[in-house]
């Protein structure tokens, strides 16, 4: 099949076939990354702009390396550099970047739906690098890629997502990605952070970590934002960690070969005890290198869709 999307805004919109195509393409991109000359000319002459309204060195670097390995010209805009501080609207900022020649815009934004605004209005292809509490499709694809490599398949796996589901874009992308490829998805966290309507998507929600990890093949730990403590969501990080932090003790309910993932950066001792973060079931470092391959695949497919349309 051919990929026909000009933008990648979320995994909700992608079909299982499209997701599989991205993962398959990422396999070949990973081969490129393992060569001595880690460069292919797929994006030669294409200007890609990384428009980041939130600091995220890890995600931005991963995108940037992917862009450079595809021979793109790269423009970096982060909040402190951009004119957004002067009150320029998102749309005006993006239009200026387009005027400078950008035809692909990677956007990270603290507000849900910001990439949609650009996709609706601009000619450029928009790649969502994380918008508010909505989606983080490259992270979701990367998690799928890592698990597929490790377990050989996604279908039939029991996947548990732990933590602040309400505010997590990683959770939403993972829910869609794993569900579309046939996994059973569970979410667990304090009831204040589990949206009331989440089960309508087709996941099962839990308030007890022990019950949720029962028989789990994959456990995805979400980063807990420190500002959520001392608010009305939960009383303290200590109490959060006591009920929703993953320890060896709790993991014994999971499948023997359970894989633990974390989109990082980890609050050690809060979401994860160190022995798990660094232990044999953890693929946290593997995810970093896979991230580049998956992002290369996203660019590659969107670029070919652009040139064929």
């Amino acid at each position: 099949m051919a990929f026909e999307r000009k933008h990648i805004l979320g995994l909700q919109e992608l079909t299982a076939e499209e997701i599989t195509l991205v993962l398959d393409t990422a396999e070949s991109m990973k081969e490129v990354s393992e060569r001595d000359v880690k460069k292919v000319p797929a994006l030669r002459g294409v200007t890609v702009c990384n428009l980041f309204f939130e600091p995220s060195t890890r995600t931005r670097s991963s995108f940037e390396i992917a862009e450079k390995r595809l021979s793109a010209d790269v423009l970096n805009f982060t909040t402190s550099q951009s004119s957004v501080v002067k009150g320029e609207s998102l749309l005006d900022t993006a239009r200026n970047l387009e005027a400078m020649g950008a035809s692909m815009i990677v956007i990270r934004h603290p507000m849900s739906g910001a990439p949609w605004l650009l996709a609706r209005t601009l000619d450029s292809s928009i790649i969502n690098a994380g918008d508010g509490s909505h989606e983080h499709p490259s992270q979701g694809l990367l998690d799928l890629f890592t698990i597929r490599q490790l377990k050989g398949k996604i279908e039939g796996l029991k996947v548990v997502i732990v933590g602040d589901i309400l505010h997590s874009r990683v959770a939403r992308s993972n829910i869609w990605g794993f569900m579309k490829l046939g996994a059973e998805v569970r979410v667990v966290g304090p009831p204040t952070l589990i949206p009331k309507y989440i089960e309508n998507i087709g996941v099962k929600s839990y308030f007890s970590l022990d019950a949720a990890v029962d028989g789990a093949d994959v456990v995805i730990m979400l980063r807990i934002q420190k500002e959520r403590q001392d608010s009305e969501f939960f009383p303290s990080l200590r109490e959060y960690s006591r009920f929703y932090g993953l320890t060896r003790e709790k993991l014994k309910y999971a499948a023997g070969d359970v894989t633990v993932m974390h989109p990082g950066p980890i609050n050690r001792g809060v979401e994860l005890s160190s022995d798990i973060a660094d232990g044999p079931g953890s693929v946290i470092l593997e995810q970093v290198s896979n991230g580049i391959a998956v992002r290369m695949a996203m660019f590659y497919l969107v670029a070919s869709a652009r040139s064929s349309s």
Binding site: Q12, S89, L90, L91, H109, M111, S112, G113, A114, W116, L117, R120, T121, D131, G132, S133, H134, E135, H167, R169, R172, P195, K196, Y197, I198, N200, I201
Partner: protein, 427 residues
């Protein structure tokens, strides 16, 4: 110049009048319903409007309009808001006090009244703020605003959270016999919500406004109306919960009336699906269950009237991230076709629909509008309920274009709007 409206179906629900006939307008008033019109048709000083097959009704009355002037003239002015009203078939509109400065004292009221008299083509009735600067704490100059022409007080845009202040406001207005018009919302429960809390908000990762944030305040306001005996009018009812609360309150005789906005009886929160900021308003578009409850409330009379909550915002203000966009949509020029859809769907009869847009809203603010008795001021709308129309926001008379209905195929075209015997709008 006299006007003869000839051969239309005249519907005046205030006295159950529904007959094909003629209306003669003279010196700004409804002169008579002449049967023999041969002489009149030939008279040189009589303008004849052929209304065969059309509906002739009292000019529509909208209890919920944001005219934005003074202070936000880039969104709307009293002039353009009135023109928009006329194009929608409205001859009287009630404007909300959340301008800049806020209409919390007689001088602002007088300014609005003067502007409306000199620049507005329809009748404008202002509402005063409940509290000074809509601060929610100290009562505004309610008596003086009443003397200057305010027909009620409202906290629209900035609900009074302090129940004691609301209680005192309800008591105080009794001296002037005006209603308290409440935007019932618990701001703490709404938090930083930008759309209805539900499945769609969960998918979109947008902060939700639970329906409880409306229900809790409707419940409080009804309780206070019961305590004080004051006439409470509840704005833009959007939830199944508030419909239930209002129905129960009416059954036990509480003096409460309520309105619903066309967007709430037409759309659900699914309209937000692609982060369309033209589907962002307060209260937000709700679930299908809520939409059905609002329609049932309109049908059984729990919800007395239809009001637009016309809330213009400029294109620049709406073309931003969903979280950043202001709440509100324009409504004056789409209200009639959307209301006629209720008739087509069998929710209301045409007479009930007209009643909810004419004499019933007038009664809530105690003004003599929305009727076509001989001797009444000639405020009249003539419309074709069956004529197809494609909503085109570029054709709006309003200064703003923020509608979720652009491109919709509907029925119902306003042909003439007449205010005080003058034709202020015709197609």
């Amino acid at each position: 110049m006299s006007i003869l409206i000839k051969g239309g179906r005249i519907i005046d629900p205030s006295r159950n009048f529904d007959k094909v006939g003629n209306i003669l307008i003279e010196k700004g008033t409804v002169k008579s319903y002449p049967e023999d019109i041969k002489k009149l048709e030939k008279a040189s000083d009589v303008k004849v409007i052929e209304a065969g097959g059309k509906i002739v009704a009292p000019g529509l009355v909208d209890l919920h309009v944001h005219l934005r002037e003074p202070g936000y003239e880039h969104k709307e002015t009293i002039r353009t808001g009135c023109e928009s009203a006329a194009a929608g078939g409205f001859t009287s509109i009630v404007c909300m006090p959340n301008t800049n400065p806020i209409n919390d004292n007689a001088s602002v009221t007088e300014y609005i009244m003067l502007k409306a008299r000199t620049e507005g083509v329809v009748n404008v009735f202002p509402l005063g703020a409940i509290t000074k600067g809509e601060n929610g704490e100290t009562l505004a100059q309610i008596g003086e605003m009443y003397e200057a022409g305010c027909v009620g007080v409202s906290d629209d845009g900035m609900p009074v959270m302090n129940s004691k202040v609301m209680r005192h406001a309800m008591e105080y207005v009794k001296a002037f016999g005006i209603p308290v018009i409440s935007h019932s919302e618990d701001l703490n429960l709404s938090g930083n919500g930008v759309m209805n809390e539900g499945y769609t908000s969960t998918l979109l990762g947008l902060s939700g406004i639970p329906s409880a944030s409306e229900d809790v305040m409707v419940s409080r306001d009804i309780t206070l109306a019961e305590l004080t005996g004051t006439h409470l009018h509840i704005c833009h009812v959007s939830t199944v919960g508030s419909v239930r609360l209002i129905r129960a309150a009416k059954e036990r005789g509480v003096r409460v009336t309520a309105e619903a906005a066309p967007h709430h009886f037409t759309l659900t929160d699914k309209a937000v699906a692609e982060y369309d900021t033209n589907a962002k308003m307060k209260p937000p578009l709700r679930s299908e269950t809520d939409r059905e409850a609002v329609r049932e409330g309109l049908r059984d009379g729990t919800i007395d009237i239809i009001a637009t909550d016309h809330a213009p915002h400029s294109e620049d203000e709406k073309m931003v991230e969903f979280d950043q966009a202001p709440f509100g949509i324009v409504g004056l020029e789409t209200a009639l076709p959307l209301s006629l859809k209720l008739v087509e769907d069998g929710v209301l009869t045409i007479n009930e629909m007209i009643a909810k847009l004419t004499h019933l809203p007038s009664a809530i603010i105690n003004v003599r509008k929305g009727t076509l008795n001989p001797g009444d001021q000639a405020d009249i709308v003539i419309f074709d309920p069956g004529q197809k129309v494609k909503i085109d926001r570029e054709s709006f008379r309003s200064k703003s274009r923020n509608t979720p209905f652009n491109g919709w195929d509907l029925k119902g075209v306003v042909l003439y709007t007449i205010v005080n015997g003058n034709i202020v709008y015709s197609v």
